[in-house]
């Protein structure tokens, strides 16, 4: 269960204080596929970075599995990101000089998993997301956008996280490939019972998720 309570994040911008996220509260049960929608600048990405422990809130709490990650120290946060969270980015963000297989193995090495286990897990995940054996050894530059995003999803799943945060995962893909990626995330949330929160402005995708939260000017204005 993810429980967000009165979450606020403000930034100093020159002489002004900008409130990117304002007193947001919501809950997402385990294994749910949720979406956060909103216009550009509505605070979606800021909320995602707070959920992913990449930034600390100004106020409020984020409880994941009963633990408030807003109060964790730096070392604990690194461990949290490594073991509990998987990120999928709009621009894929794979490491360019590593093969698809090595990209999926990388987060596991941060988790202290042995080389043999890393490789077996990476092959399994890449098979699961539909990357063929020959493409597993290719570097990202020699894969299509859809293939790169599938590799990114496999990388996000590598450490068996409780939560996957996807920031516009279909934003750089054509509609057909985007639908394929969405279906993949959806099936993973079912098969692996992983909680997935997707930030998107694609209403058709948001409509297919279990829950959907709409943000406007940093405030949660509706919930489906």
């Amino acid at each position: 269960m993810i429980k967000v309570s009165n979450l606020t994040k403000t930034f100093q911008s020159g002489d002004n204080i900008v409130t990117a996220v304002s007193s947001i509260s919501f809950e997402v049960p385990d294994g749910q596929f949720a979406s956060i929608i909103g216009k550009s600048g509505s605070g979606k990405s800021t909320l995602l970075s707070l959920l992913g422990a990449l930034d600390k809130p100004t106020e409020g709490s984020i409880e994941i599995g009963g633990k408030d990650i807003a109060r964790l120290g730096e070392r604990a946060l690194v461990g949290y990101r490594c073991k509990k969270i998987g990120f999928v980015f709009q621009g894929y963000n794979l490491i360019p000089n590593l093969s698809a297989l090595e990209n999926v193995m990388l987060p596991q090495s941060f988790n202290g998993i042995s080389s043999h286990e890393r490789k077996a897990r990476a092959v399994e995940l890449l098979d699961q997301v539909g990357i063929s054996d020959d493409k597993q050894l290719r570097k990202p530059g020699r894969l299509s956008g859809g293939e790169q995003q599938r590799v990114a999803i496999a990388r996000a799943l590598a450490n068996r996280p409780e939560l996957i945060l996807a920031d516009e995962p279909t934003g750089n893909l054509d509609s057909e490939t985007g639908k394929m990626i969405f279906d993949l995330l959806h099936s993973l949330s079912r098969s692996q019972r992983t909680t997935i929160i997707v930030v998107t402005h694609d209403l058709s995708i948001a409509g297919k998720t279990d829950e959907s939260f709409r943000l406007q000017d940093g405030k949660l204005i509706s919930k489906k």
Binding site: T46, S49, V78, C82, G91, N93, F110, D167
Partner: protein, 482 residues
């Protein structure tokens, strides 16, 4: 993926940049090694020279030199005070003169820096083993007699022979000689026995027990010593009292060498000798002489140290700027690595291993440069440094006239001054000056270890700033910038 392997692979991510960087680092590390090699070789030489000169004090009349000989010779009674000083274990007293071969024109020798001249009027039946042509050049080259106004030598001219009256007959020209036959003479007793060189014996067909004349006196060859140079080969050695009697210079001494019991007491004993003789004498300890001789090497050591520091700084700046550039370029990648669970330390180690890989590859190139350049650069530094010292020494003395003998090197000029024992300073100086130029460089494990340590220092210093920058990269800022 192992952090270290990831760093190594990243080092070769951009081939052109990596190779360029390795070459630049290689040059920097190579310069470090060359400077280390030069410094080590020079330091070793300085130690050798200082150890080789021993613990002696050279005493000469004040203002005495072959170029400007003061007429204020020391006396035996003055020097007897020195012999009785604490820590003095031996005192060698010397008087020198020249004799002309019977039948040869007597040359007039000029004195540099003055208009004084002296003519070699005393004669001997001996003939110098050094043969000169009419231009004054010795057979086989290497020595030349400068002739006033550029004239030529008479056909029957024979080079005058140096005469050394000494209390230590087996020390000739500041160097210890060994006898090839016969026995030595007692330098303190007035006898008509003498030592001659092997060159002199061969030239004059003399053996131990044979006789010759000098100063109108018949001498017996008591021993024949092996000469190491042409100069010492042209020297006739007799007891100090004998030469004092023959030249009418009773009790006169033109140079002395005192031996001190230990190197630790050398400085204090030198001061005692100076205070005992006052302004009558110029005193120089062997360590002063060594210090003077190795001064050019000290300069080279300083230059090489500065070069080493400069090269380390240059290498550090290169790797620092490169790593800063790489970190800035890969800011997003660093953010992603942190987002997917990498700690600051892990990312810093990855970039450090990248820097170390680049530096070690540069070090390999640097070692090759060091091996190739160490010896020539050291020799060039030493040669230019000692040449400039020699040139300075030569230009401070005005040109002379008359017959001044030369080995072709400015510092050996006037080796046949009327009081040649004054050349003890200079002769040993020549030996040291020549010695300091003979430098051999060695590239041992210690040098390589120093080189590697310098390379690692460069990598660590260069990575430090990059590490600080990495720690400041905030993943959420990277994500927001998307």
């Amino acid at each position: 993926m192992n952090t270290f392997i990831l760093g190594v692979r990243n080092a070769f991510r951009n081939t052109i940049r990596s190779v360029s960087l390795m070459v630049i680092l290689g040059l920097s590390i190579g310069l470090c090694l060359v400077m280390l090699i030069a410094r080590q070789a020079v330091s070793q030489k300085i130690t050798e020279v200082k150890q080789s000169v021993g613990n002696t004090i050279t005493i000469a009349p004040a203002g005495f030199s072959d170029f400007s000989q003061a007429n204020n010779a020391l006396t035996g009674s003055q020097l007897s005070k020195i012999a009785n000083l604490t820590h003095i274990t031996n005192l060698s007293e010397n008087l020198t003169d020249r004799v002309t071969t019977i039948g040869s024109p007597a040359p007039t020798f000029g004195k540099f820096g003055s208009n004084d001249t002296s003519t070699v009027n005393s004669t001997t039946s001996l003939t110098s083993p050094i043969t000169l042509d009419t231009s004054g050049t010795s057979t086989g080259g290497g020595m030349r007699l400068f002739i006033r106004d550029g004239g030529s030598l008479p056909a029957n001219f024979s080079l005058p022979i140096s005469v050394l009256g000494t209390t230590t007959p087996l020390t000739v020209g500041g160097e210890t000689v060994s006898l090839s036959s016969g026995s030595t003479i007692d330098g303190t007793k007035d006898t008509n026995n003498a030592l001659i060189s092997t060159d002199m014996a061969t030239k004059n067909n003399l053996k131990v027990g044979a006789t010759f004349t000098a100063y109108g006196t018949t001498f017996t060859v008591a021993g024949i010593f092996a000469n190491s140079t042409k100069i010492s080969g042209n020297t006739l050695v007799m007891a100090l009292p004998t030469l004092q009697r023959l030249t009418g210079q009773s009790d006169v001494v033109t140079s002395a060498v005192a031996t001190v019991d230990s190197l630790d007491d050398l400085a204090s004993t030198t001061n005692t000798v100076k205070s005992t003789l006052g302004s009558n004498a110029d005193i120089q300890s062997s360590q002063d002489e060594a210090n003077s001789a190795v001064q050019p090497l000290q300069n080279v050591a300083s230059i090489s140290l500065l070069g080493l520091i400069g090269a380390v700084i240059a290498g550090s700046v290169i790797i620092l700027l490169t790593m800063v550039m790489i970190v800035r370029e890969r800011r997003r990648e660093i953010g992603i690595l942190k987002a997917i669970g990498a700690s600051n330390l892990r990312v810093v180690l990855q970039f450090m291993s990248e820097a170390v890989t680049l530096t070690v590859a540069g070090a390999v190139i640097g070692v090759l440069i060091g091996i190739a350049g160490g010896n020539p650069v050291t020799n060039m530094l030493v040669s230019s440094s000692t040449d400039s010292a020699t040139s300075t020494s030569a230009t401070t003395k005005p040109g002379g006239f008359g017959g001044t003998f030369s080995t072709g090197q400015p510092r050996t000029m006037a080796a046949f001054g009327t009081r040649p024992t004054g050349s003890f300073f200079r002769r040993s100086g020549i030996g040291l000056a020549n010695s300091v130029q003979n430098i051999t460089t060695n590239i041992g494990w210690s040098i390589l270890a120093y080189g590697l340590a310098a390379a690692l220092a460069i990598a660590v210093i260069g990575s430090a700033c990059a590490g600080w920058m990495i720690a400041r990269v905030k993943p959420y800022e990277v994500m927001r910038a998307e």
